[in-house]
């Protein structure tokens, strides 16, 4: 069993997968923030690779990408952060976009992920129809590929996504790009039920889930929850790395408590 699947199989609650952009506040400090989240009870990580054109991201994560790039987080430094995060012993997934992976080559990119100890990859602009080469490369390199479903995905399409046997299904809980929402989306109960009805592939909910209350509201609906913007915002608001690490520790601890 892969480390990610094993995590879902052994945990008796939904897993907490914090998202954070690599290279914040600087490439050198970045690992301290992830370490603080391990101490606070994170189960796995989604590490955002800073990108020029993050189409699925709202203003906060866009800003984080800009800040990280301006701080010198080029591809080489992003790989170094990814390797350090994977070294913390929690399943670690890279979150990036289609173009940088295609430029490196699907196979080469997956081999390198495996080489730095990463467990998986998430590409939000690579839908099922375009994911063939990545799915193959992932299998060859032992890297789990995540596929998305959304409230707009019909049951037939959902079945085809499940049949591709992704590492897990990323259920986009709300229409729109990443960002905080006032309340959990009305779509999420139906989405979870539709996924559960057709597959046993683990379901992880993300996009628009930010607070402990929201996490609590969805924890029965999925095998895991991704929280991104709410954490990234705290890092952008902090004046230095220590302050950011403390803020992340508190936030992740509260999110974990909400899952117990």
């Amino acid at each position: 069993m892969t480390p990610i699947r094993e995590m879902f199989a052994t945990l008796e609650r939904a897993a907490l997968l914090p998202y954070l952009t690599a290279g914040l506040p600087t490439p050198a400090d970045s690992i301290d923030l992830f370490r603080a989240m391990v101490d606070a009870g994170a189960d796995a990580f989604e590490v955002g690779i800073p990108y020029s054109d993050p189409l699925m991201d709202g203003p906060v994560i866009m800003r984080a990408s800009e800040v990280a790039l301006a701080a010198g987080t080029d591809a080489t430094r992003a790989w170094a952060v990814l390797e350090q995060v994977a070294g913390l012993g929690k399943p670690t997934l890279a979150m990036t976009y289609a173009n940088p992976v295609m430029q490196a080559g699907w196979e080469a990119y997956c081999r390198r992920l495996s080489g730095v100890g990463a467990a998986g990859i998430i590409i939000p602009d690579l839908p099922l129809e375009e994911a063939g080469p990545l799915l193959e490369a992932g299998i060859a390199a032992g890297v789990g590929v995540v596929l998305f479903v959304s409230p707009t995905t019909d049951p037939d399409r959902l079945r085809r996504v499940a049949q591709a046997d992704p590492e897990f299904i990323y259920g986009v809980s709300d229409l729109g790009v990443t960002g905080e929402r006032q309340a959990v989306s009305e779509h999420v109960v139906g989405l979870s039920a539709r996924v559960r009805a057709v597959t046993e592939v683990p379901l992880v909910l993300g996009v628009g889930i930010s607070t402990p209350e929201q996490v609590q509201a969805v924890r029965q609906l999925a095998d895991g929850v991704i929280v991104g913007t709410a954490l990234v915002r705290r890092v952008l608001e902090a004046t230095n790395a220590q302050e950011a690490a403390r803020a992340l520790f508190d936030a992740v601890r509260d999110l974990r408590t909400a899952l117990e």
Partner: protein
């Protein structure tokens, strides 16, 4: 082997190895629906008749094909101008905007959104939306809002909300990204009227079908004669694909002119085919300005409509298969071409279209005695501020 144009892209939305649908999952059902709806509308004689009525009575089609006598004499090249600048709102963009707005109406979507660089597509979308009673929001980079202020006022007068985009360089690429983010949020009631032959399938195919009227009219107006070359400026590539497509695969040489900005060597340009590598941007695989890591680079052009680091995937296919060739013209050449056309023909062209004129002017000796069909894609009123600024 004689290269062939494709009637339409394959199942996966590919023109050869270009195109596709690199879009967020939330949009995939909407893209599939759009493909079905456009297919059914396009083969429905009633829809086609309605579109044609709009094109003739509202847009003013057919646009004239004009012998540019004094310009021809001066350059020693016979030049025929396809006067898209005379279409309602002042550019070819309206052909596509009216078609897609009618489609949105047919699909029962009460709201449309668009991106704009030069503001011409934004004005065209705002115009079509007003005429059909649709809500409309247009995304526009803050730099373009500044340099195309006239068009911002026009959109607002038409009842459209202009949403400033400060991200990135504040130009066309960022406006497309922000329009797509809006669409991911509002897809259930909104249609995205993309402004060029770019974006995920079916957009590049659909916009080409809506713009091919330009070239088809030229063939009618030429009355059996064939030009030696067809020349057009290439931003996303809609005015060029619109005039190229009906000629493609025949004897006529097709030349697309990209923005060389401050020069290809300066790195400040918008010449994706001439100087880019294949990659993915805004849902499609095409030639792209990018660095070694695959970060998309900012384009630069004096003309907001050519200031884009990608290009329509069918142009990438035309380039690789030899159906067309692509070259570029610089900011300074385009400015000089504005003067040239204004003084010889009494027409102030858009800075975008001026790139095509500049290319013919630079290549005049090689083209001596030939007949060139040139797409005058738009008029230059919107650019007066930019042009005046460069004169000081």
């Amino acid at each position: 082997m004689i290269p062939r144009r494709l009637d339409r892209p394959d199942e996966a939305g590919r023109f050869g190895e270009f195109g596709g649908r690199f879009a967020p999952e939330t949009l995939m059902p909407a893209l599939a629906e759009l493909e079905r709806e456009f297919e059914s509308a396009w083969s429905d004689p009633d829809f086609r008749a309605e579109l044609n009525r709009w094109l003739s009575s509202f847009v003013g089609r057919p646009t004239p094909l004009q012998e540019a006598r004094r310009l021809s004499k001066q350059l020693g090249v016979r030049i025929l101008l396809k006067r898209e600048d005379l279409a309602h709102t002042g550019a070819h963009k309206i052909n596509n905007a009216v078609g897609q707005a009618l489609l949105a109406h047919r699909m029962g979507k009460p709201r449309v959104i668009a991106e704009t660089g030069a503001g011409q597509h934004g004005v065209a979308a705002a115009t079509a939306a007003a005429a059909l009673g649709l809500e409309c929001s247009v995304y526009m980079g803050v730099v373009d809002i500044e340099r195309q202020a006239l068009n911002v006022q026009r959109m607002e007068l038409l009842g459209t909300e202009v949403v400033p985009v400060a991200a990135g360089a504040g130009t066309l690429k960022d406006a497309v990204s922000e329009a797509m983010r809006d669409w991911v949020r509002t897809v259930e009631r909104t249609h995205y009227i993309i402004g060029s032959v770019v974006g995920p399938h079916p957009f590049p195919w659909m916009v080409r079908e809506l713009q091919r009227v330009i070239g088809e009219e030229c063939i009618d107006q030429l009355g059996g004669e064939m030009p030696d070359l067809v020349v057009a400026s290439v931003g996303g590539g809609s005015n060029s694909m619109g005039i190229f497509y009906p000629f493609a695969g025949g004897e006529v040489e097709l030349v697309g002119v990209e923005a060389a900005g401050e020069g290809i060597d300066s790195g400040r340009h918008g010449a994706s085919i001439s100087a880019g590598r294949p990659g993915v941007l805004h849902g499609t695989r095409t030639y792209l300005l990018q660095d070694a890591d695959g970060q998309v680079q900012e384009a630069h052009s004096i003309s907001a409509g050519l200031d884009y680091p990608g290009v329509g995937p069918e142009h990438a296919y035309f380039n690789d298969s030899g159906l067309a060739t692509y070259d570029s013209a610089s900011d300074l050449e385009a400015l000089a071409a504005v003067d040239l056309l204004a003084h010889t023909e009494g027409i102030i062209p858009a800075l975008e279209s001026a790139h095509a004129i500049a290319w013919v002017s630079r290549n005049a000796s090689r083209l001596a005695g030939k007949t060139v069909l040139l797409n005058l894609s738009g008029r230059g009123d919107k650019d007066l501020q930019t042009i005046a600024g460069r004169r000081q």
